[in-house]
Amino acid sequence: MLKRNVLALAAGLMLVATLAHAGALDQIKKRGTLACGSNTGVAGFGLPDDKGHWTGLDVDFCRAVAAAIFDDVGKVKFIPLSSKDRFTALQSGEVDILARNTTWTLSREAGQGFLFTGITYFDGQGFMVRKKLNLSSALELSGASICVQQGTTSELNLADFFRGNNMNYEPVVFASADEARKAYDSGRCDAYTTDASGLYAERPKLANPDDHVILPEIISKEPLGPLVRQGDDQWFNVVKWVGFAMLDAEELGVTSKNVDEKLKSDRPEIKRLLGLEGNFGEALGLTGDWAYRIVKRVGNYGEIFDRNLGEGSSLKIKRGINSLWTKGGLQYAPPIR
């Protein structure tokens, strides 16, 4: 009897759980807030400022999704997740979207049941060296001692890179990124390696940041992007197209400042983007002005990159491969039509 009750309860809970997972978009609209799994503190991607207000590229991506749904960037609930509990939080439905500089890999999609909606930042492992060494390429690092964090993919990539190029090196491994950076700063190693965005974030912490350069070579692929659960294609489409709309807006020259003027534009692509022609927003389950809201409230991709990572920020990361495809980069979005 008791056993049957317990089973019935478990079945009931599972039913509630499945119902809860159906139609994330409707559920978010009903709830009135978007739950966004965010970083616990990475400069440029997700970091609270002096007033405790979240800033960063990933954070702004979630705000853009909220703008498209609610026309209000305040309706996001940021749930800071450590790298250990980020996937369970998404799996369990505690967050609707995970935008927390997570690398897009096969096992995370096929193995863990997620879908990446796009690439918001093409990252990859790079090297930082002292300017006085006069190096212009990572291929000149043969025989160098290199500070690296232990147990990371950086350590493995480093080994692959040097073996593949038939070069020698001396790895100096440390348990934490802080220790590795300090050792490099004190002269223990010739070079310091981690993901390029990390190198830019770590550089200001050095005693003389201007004495160091980041070499142009990127030796690994770390495509970072937001991800959602599998099995909800409508929600997947919404998040995916929010990213594309930000890229299309940049390509068409629509910014948060000129978006109201652009409403008068005659260009059909802009008319379609801003919802003056066709009903693309409605097809997504949003409103016709969804992309207008994103650009108006948050900005296009170039604007959020500049504000959080680029020249408008203290990180001063170059656009590089994150430029639009029209400017020699990799950022490319399908057209809205």
Binding site: L13, A20, V42, P48, G52, K77, P80, E94, A201
Partner: protein, 383 residues
């Protein structure tokens, strides 16, 4: 001679019987402060050597420590530029700039008065409760344990009906959350711990088994496991709409965890009470419950004050573990703030951690000073 009359063995079996009074000892050197200092620091050659070694170490470390903390420190700066200058010491300007964030976390700026009011009321009630000569301490206890949590919850979380906009717990952070976790842990762990300790000593087998099982299970797992269970695993079993709030989960976890340790501390005190006390109370016609309340617990708790304070102090420091499950407590806000590229510099991490150390030390030392005072008042301090 009293020694001889009390000893029941024949005098012939004793190896030594003192015939006259013992010779007088010289007056203790510690009568004067300087004499005590000399005796303690340079008593014999080994003590002198240790003293000299320690003095040398202090002499080596102190000047550079003072230089870093005070003389070369940057006291005011608009951003990290001055703190990055070569030779600059601790960057107190960074602490000053980020102080509101360290205290309130992401709590909306316009609503922060609510945190201030709650902390102020809490401080007044705690002083009232801890000040042993204060009037109407029963009223204070009622206010603190019943009315205050209710008031705090309504004020902090908000009540749209009363015109207070809701402030979701994901915005809570900083010192305020550290104090919240610690005080919830302390306030719940003592009564729960007493109940568990009594339950463990109960003669009812089911109750005894349940309490013992709970205590042993909770003590057998690390606190991090409890927190992970609460914030990472629980959402997998319970649908998201039914799951408790993300901040409430670690609060409950910490309270249950602390109560298991408290139960063992209290049980130590209960075991020190001689059977005669129970029997005496029974002879006076007291029922079991008044016996506990009037006779046993007052004595038992007095015995365990050092243990209870020890648990409280370790609980206060354990609150930093909630950062692992994404709660922005005080230490985590420092962790996040030191990533800010506007301030990033070689001394920022050190400054942040020194500040955190001072904060935790001040609170823990305060608790232990108060406990010493109470022990002296109750006359239970061992010599």
């Amino acid at each position: 001679m009293p020694g001889a009359t009390q000893d029941r063995r024949p005098a012939s079996a004793q190896a030594f019987v003192r015939q006259g009074p013992a010779p007088a000892q010289p007056p203790p050197a510690s009568e004067s402060f300087a004499g005590g200092l000399r005796g303690n620091l340079f008593g014999d050659w080994r003590t002198s050597l240790a003293t000299l070694a320690v003095l040398t170490l202090v002499g080596l470390a102190l000047p550079s420590l003072l230089r870093f903390l005070i003389f070369d420190a940057v006291w005011s700066a608009p951003d990290g530029e001055l703190c990055r200058a070569p030779g600059a010491g601790a960057c107190w300007a960074f602490i000053a700039q980020k102080l509101p964030y360290f205290i309130y976390g992401s709590y909306p700026e316009s609503q922060r008065w609510r945190v201030d009011v709650t902390m102020f009321v809490g401080a007044v009630l705690i002083v009232w409760l801890l000040w042993l000569d204060a009037p109407a301490r029963r009223l204070a206890a009622f206010l603190f344990f019943v009315a205050y949590p209710l008031q705090g919850f309504i004020l902090l979380h908000g009540a749209p009906a009363l015109g207070l906009p809701r402030v979701e717990t994901h915005l809570w952070g900083g010192v305020f959350v550290s104090l919240l976790v610690a005080s919830v842990g302390m306030v719940f762990s003592l009564p729960l711990g007493i109940l568990l300790a009594l339950g463990r000593r109960s003669r009812l087998p089911a109750l005894k088994l349940a309490c013992t099982g709970f205590i042993e299970f909770v003590r057998g797992v690390p606190m991090i496991t409890v927190l992970f269970m609460a914030n990472t695993m629980l959402p997998l079993f319970v649908p998201e709409d039914l799951a408790p709030d993300r901040l409430a989960r670690p609060l409950i976890g910490v309270a249950l965890f602390a109560s298991a340790y408290m139960a063992e501390v209290v049980r130590g005190g209960l075991q020190a009470i001689p059977r005669g006390q129970f029997e005496g109370a029974a002879a006076l016609g007291l029922r079991p419950w008044p016996t506990l309340r009037l006779v046993v617990l007052p004595q038992a708790l007095r015995h365990v004050i050092p243990g209870v304070v020890n648990s409280f102090i370790s609980l206060f420091k354990d609150t930093t573990l909630v950062a692992i499950v994404g709660i922005f407590d005080f230490l985590k806000t420092i962790e996040a703030a030191r990533q800010d590229p506007a301030w990033a510099g070689p001394t920022i991490s050190a400054t942040g951690y020194i500040f955190a150390a001072l904060f935790y030390f001040a609170f823990c030392f305060g608790m232990s000073l108060y406990a010493r005072f109470v022990e002296r008042r109750l006359g239970s301090a061992a010599a």
